[in-house]
């Protein structure tokens, strides 16, 4: 029977709660650290679904306040875009941050 920690937190990259907790236990306590090591949040949704859940897990495991863990930026583009949308000149609704 599957363990209760073997479910996906990040569905885009199929990263489980167990994998995320292991990395936190190794001493990686920021969303960026966890993302870079596990790939959670690197997929199509870019962490928009799982980012806050991961922040909450980090907060619960480390005792750091949630607001502190949540301080991170999103990489351009803010939404996914077809390459051809930027191929032509002109403004785009994907903005740098």
């Amino acid at each position: 029977m599957a363990n209760d920690k073997d479910f996906f937190i990040c569905r885009c990259e199929e990263v489980t709660l167990r994998e995320i907790e292991e990395v936190i236990d190794e001493g990686y306590h920021t969303i960026d650290d966890v993302k870079r090591i596990t790939r959670a949040g690197m997929g199509l949704c870019q962490g928009r679904s799982c980012g806050k859940v991961i922040a909450r897990i980090i907060s619960q495991k480390t005792g750091k306040p949630l607001e502190e863990v949540l301080q991170t930026g999103y990489r351009f583009p803010v939404r996914t875009e077809k390459l051809k949308a930027l191929e032509e000149e002109g403004p785009s609704d994907a903005e740098n941050n």
Binding site: E13, E26, G27, Y28, T30, D32, D33, R36, I37, R39, M42, G43, L44, Q46, R75, F76, P77, T80, E81, K82, L83, K84, L86, E87, E89, S92, N96
Partner: protein, 396 residues
């Protein structure tokens, strides 16, 4: 409070972690001081290539061969696949002039033992059916490989920790002194102090600033590389790709290649690699813009226009992220590796520019040999930091 170690490594990117790992493996007590978090600098914002075809025959190509062998043994040693793969690589040739330069270059590389050849248009298209019609030929090397930088860094850190290595994040170094005992005393922004008889400056694009803290000269300029990342898509070709234009301008700066002003300003070159996550990384720019590591609309648009002109089907692919990293660039295009003549016990291992992933394992291993055994083979002389010591100060 002062903590004592055998070696302080400044910089927790792939080079610093490799140095830390190999030093720890040789029995040294090591702390790696990283100014940011995990993979915060260039090692976390790059592609994943272990390229041979881009290396000038000479020390860089020799070390790349040795590094590849180390990667193969690290897969077992670090108990992880490290995203190591061997898809091979092709350099795309647009015209006769590029073909001429590449033919000569391929001959030189073959004489150094690199398995590389020129493919006809038909053979090229068989491997890369989605290429634009205009390419007349390409090179092909089955040796070009790749590794996933995040996995390599994480496993260097994990295995290193198991053997006693410390890695401390968010600890920018603000002071380096040598005290009466001959030890170095390194101070971080949090006012923590670390003491050791050896310091390794592996601070990448910041290596010049770190050397400056103890009065040494390491000429290092940050060179921004922007890259875009696509969604997961099925494979669009057999190998990784890049453009001859980049190699020709790097190897034969005298040759005039048709480039637009924008291409020159951005240092635009085509590079395409399939990642661990089945996305493609498409690059890239090589720009001197100081320590600004933001992505720009100009850069991203130039990369996209170029990519679609090379492989038209990419226009319907989504890109999900753009990244930028500061490659550490030296004036002569070679890394800096060795002990500084003026300050014994102070080493620099930095300046790999676009070769950091390729050369990380061999850099760490050679550095550890130098620190532990005072040994440095003669062929590494040309990488010594002392090559800049005499004249560089006068110039600046």
């Amino acid at each position: 409070m002062v903590q004592s170690y055998d070696v302080l490594v400044i910089g927790g990117g792939i080079i610093g972690l490799s140095c830390g790992y190999y030093l720890t493996k040789q029995g040294k007590r090591v702390v790696v001081l990283e100014s940011g978090g995990f993979a915060d600098g260039a090692s976390g914002a790059c592609d994943d290539m272990i390229l041979f075809q881009s290396k000038k025959p000479g020390i860089n190509l020799e070390l790349a061969f040795e590094s590849l062998e180390l990667y193969k043994s690290l897969v077992g040693e670090l108990e992880d696949s490290l995203g190591f793969a061997n898809y091979g690589g092709m350099v795309l040739i647009e015209n006769e002039r590029e073909l001429e330069v590449m033919e000569e270059f391929v001959m030189q590389q073959r004489s150094y033992g690199l398995d590389v050849e020129i493919l006809t248009k038909a053979a090229m298209r068989k491997k890369q059916p989605f290429l634009h019609e205009r390419f007349i030929a390409s090179t092909y090397s089955p040796m070009d490989s790749q590794a996933y930088p995040f996995a390599v860094m994480h496993k260097f850190a994990r295995k290193g920790r198991q053997m006693g290595m410390q890695v401390v994040h968010k600890s920018p170094v603000v002071g380096i002194q040598k005290d009466g005992t001959g030890d170095f005393l390194v101070t971080t922004a949090q006012n923590m102090q670390y003491r050791a008889p050896h310091v390794v400056n592996a601070a990448g694009a910041w290596a010049g600033k770190v050397a400056d803290l103890i009065g040494l000269n390491v000429p290092m300029e940050p060179r921004r590389g922007q890259i875009i990342i696509t969604e997961k898509i099925p494979a669009i070709g057999e190998t990784n790709l890049w453009s001859a234009k980049y190699l020709v301008t790097k190897l034969k700066p005298g040759i005039q290649i048709d480039s637009t002003e924008e291409e020159k300003r951005l240092g635009l070159a085509f590079a395409l690699t399939r990642t661990e996550g089945d996305s493609y990384l498409i690059g890239s720019t090589r720009e001197f813009v100081g320590y600004d590591k933001r992505t720009t609309m100009e850069g991203i648009r130039a990369i996209i226009n170029q990519a679609v002109s090379f492989i038209p089907v990419l226009k319907d692919v989504n890109f999900i992220r753009a990244i930028a990293g500061l490659r550490p660039a030296t004036p002569d295009g070679k890394m800096v590796l060795g002990e500084h003549a003026g300050v014994s016990g102070f080493f620099t291992a930095a300046g790999h520019e676009g070769d950091g992933i390729s050369l990380a394992p061999i850099t760490g291993k050679l550095l550890a040999d130098m620190v532990c055994e005072g040994r440095s083979d003669a062929r590494l002389e040309e990488l010594s930091p002392n090559r800049f010591a005499s004249n560089a100060k006068e110039v600046s």
